[in-house]
Each structure stands twice: as C-alpha cells, then as structure tokens.
Symmetry: C2
Subunit: 212 residues, 2 copies
DNA sequence: AACATATTGTGAATAAATTCACAGCGTTAA
DNA sequence: TTAACGCTGTGAATTTATTCACAATATGTT
C-alpha cells in the first residue's frame, strides 16, 4: 500500500467532496462522477480508492458512507490529534476561524504569540500562551503538529523551538524556507510564492489565448 | 522549453533563495549549494536552470545577479501585473500585510468585500469596493488575477463573478472545490486540507519512528 | 606547459505517476 | 434463461519527472 503525497492530497479532497455529496442526499457515487467533481479522471479515482483497500460494486459504484469511513480510517488518527498555532495576527485568527471545529479528529489545542498583550487572552476557546511556553506546553499537551503564522523574520526561531518541543509536522505560512531536520514533515504555504505562481499561469493563459 | 507546474514552483523558490543569498553579500552559487538550500538535488537544479536557457560556468557556478535576472525575465510579466483581493476579513488583511510591496511586478490593485462597513475604507493604500463592483472595476483596472479570501459559503459566487469579469487566474483560500471553466487557472490553498495533510504525515513519522 | 580539480550541461537510464483497455461481474430486461 | 449493459479492478503501456554518470571546460598549481 504505497501512498505518495499526491495520493493523500487527493484522498483528502475526495473525502471533502463525498461528504458534501452525501449531505445533498446521495447514497452512492461512480468514479466518473467523483472524478469530475475533483478535476480528475475515473481511472485515477479508482486507483486511489484501490490504494486504501476499499472496493466498490460494478453496478452501484461506491457506497458513500462506507467509502467516507474507509478513507477516514485510512487518513485519520484513532485518537484526537492536537495542533499548536503560533502567531495570533490576522492570519492566525483566520486559521482559527476557518479551522476550528471542522474536523472531528483535529483540534487546535494551544495558541502562542509573542505579543504580551495577547498572553492569557482566550481566543475561540483557546488560551493564548507566550512563545516561551512552547517547550513546556507542547509536550505536556502531547501536541505533534504546529501551524506557523508569524512574520517571515520570526519563523525560523519559532520552528526551531517547535522541533525542540517534539513537533513532527509543520504547516508553514511564513514566506521563508525553513531549515529543519529531515525527519520533520514541513508543508509550505507561502502566500507570496502562491500569488506569483498564479500570476505566471494566468499570464500564460492570457498570452496563449491571444496568439491564435 | 517545456515547463511543468513543479518547474515553476521550484524556480520561484530558487529566486527567493538567490535573492537572500545575494543580500548576504555573495556573488555566485553552485548547484550543490542551491540544492541544499531548496531541499533539492544538484541535478534537479541544473535541469531547472537549463530549462530557462541560462548557463553557468563550470568553475564559478552561477552568477547570482544574472541568474536572478534570467529567472525573473522568465517568470515575470514585463509590465506590472494587477491583483484583486476579495474578502477583507482576517485572512484578507493578512494577505495584504504579507504581500504588499514584496514583489515589484505584482500589486494588489483592488480589494472587495460585501460588508457595507468596509466599503470605501482604504486599507494599506487600497480602496475597498463592494462585491457588486467586481464586474466594473476589474476590467477597468485590467486585473487578471484574483485572491479569494471569503468564507466557504460565498466562494463559488465570488469565483463566478470574477470569471465573468475576465479574471484568468484564481488563488483560492476558501475550503471548497470551485467549479470553473477549464481555461481558468486555479490554485487551491485550502487551509483545512493543509492541516489534515500535515497531520497525516506527522502521524506517519511518529508511528514509523516508534516501530524500530 | 602539462596536470589536477571541481563544476557544468546533458544524453541515457531509472523511477514515479497516470492512463489505457479489457476481463469479470451483478443487474436488468426480454 | 440468456443476452446486453455499464461499472469496477487492475495488468500493461505510456507519459512525465528525476537521477545518474560522464565528457567538456575553465581555472589554479607546479
């Protein structure tokens, strides 16, 4: 059962789509339908579903509920998985807004900021700690993933602290390349690079389109 | 000169790294160094640089300034490229903070929100328009890319409007899969999926590590 | 002037990801 | 009962991406 990053990304997306498909009253789905909703191909969808060991029926396609459960069993932790958020500026607050309560198995369990004004305030049910508490709180709460939402200048220091505290996965929103040990999983969500990328492809579309 | 998405992503990252390398006083760089800074391999770096038609010297590696210029020539528009931002909640404001002024060829030229309280306020030098003005302002300002930073529920409607207004590239932060014409480039930056992905790989590292 | 060195550029090899294409299978219809 | 249908599961083919490996090269050294 070899799974690449892309596999996992697609499975996460499928689950999202399947849940909303179920919420509009459907009970089953075909690879063709799911592919079209996920901008993929039917063969890709079947391969991905095969990779988690689930089987559909040649007549009814995939049972929505069972498929969602199978994907969740594959993707999720059995227990609640706790997340730390560092940085309570606009970005950090928007992450809480978008995220909190959306996934049953994931929970923002601690929030850190270096601004003394924010320390000890409670945001959306999370108490805000000073950055110095990272080393103490993260092991105590048994948190293994963290979101970095601080300005570029502070990101590497925060990352180092997080790693020292035992974090294994980092979602980094700061526009810097972090230097970290190889056994830490890092997902970079650099906003500037993202805009630049879109700009490149938008331009490409525009100029290609006009060259006919 | 065939370039894939991954190529472009790496080139954007290289540029970022090269610029900061230059800022600490260096004048040239070897594929080996750049690879290590970008978590890549020397061969990959050379291939990527080859793909934009730049050549280094077997003795001095790559001239920093010239390489940065070559990459920029390849990636950037000649003229200023304008960006629209829709949604001025916490996320939208953090995008302005992180982004504005960072890239010389890209500029947030218009900001939209549906909250009447925000209309006509000026944020970081950008006047905020009502969403209804999208169809008017975007063609007038000749904007071809947009960032969606609204809640999930409003994202599809906003996207439809943007496409109608002539947008060619969308950076979507809302946690929904947008349904759009095939000639529009969409980059999804779904925060929930991102956290889920990190959670999966962090768990995998944790459990693999403990199985020795 | 000849040699040693370290790096680039790239054809060829390899690995990874995707797509093709079709056998096999329940179900429905006659 | 039998035939026809449309879908899944998957081996094989194809395409795409990455890495290998080495000739070519410019410089410093003796």
């Amino acid at each position: 059962m070899k799974t690449s990053e892309k596999n996992i990304e697609r499975l996460l997306l499928y689950r999202r789509i399947l849940i909303s498909f179920k919420n509009i009253g459907k009970t089953n789905i075909y690879s063709k339908q799911l592919a079209s909703l996920a901008d993929s191909t039917p063969a890709q969808v079947r391969r991905d579903i095969m990779s988690i060991g689930y089987s559909g029926s040649p007549v009814h396609g995939y049972d929505l509920e069972k498929l969602i459960d199978s994907i969740s069993e594959f993707l999720d932790s059995n227990n609640l998985q706790k997340v730390a958020l560092v940085g309570l500026g606009h970005l950090g607050r928007s992450i809480i807004d978008y995220f909190q309560g959306r996934r049953p198995k994931l929970m923002i369990a601690a929030v850190f900021d270096r601004d003394p004004d924010k320390i000890d305030r409670v945001m959306h049910g999370c108490r805000c700690y000073s950055n110095e508490k990272i080393l103490k709180v993260i092991p105590k709460e048994n948190i293994n993933i963290a979101i970095i939402a601080v300005p570029a200048s502070g990101a590497q220091d925060v990352a180092d602290l997080l790693v020292q505290a035992g974090i294994k996965g980092i979602l980094n929103y700061a526009p810097v390349k972090l230097t970290l040990p190889p056994d830490i999983y890092v997902e970079n969500r650099d906003m500037i690079l993202a805009v630049e990328k879109v700009a490149y492809f938008a331009r490409k579309i525009t100029t290609e389109g006009s060259s006919t």
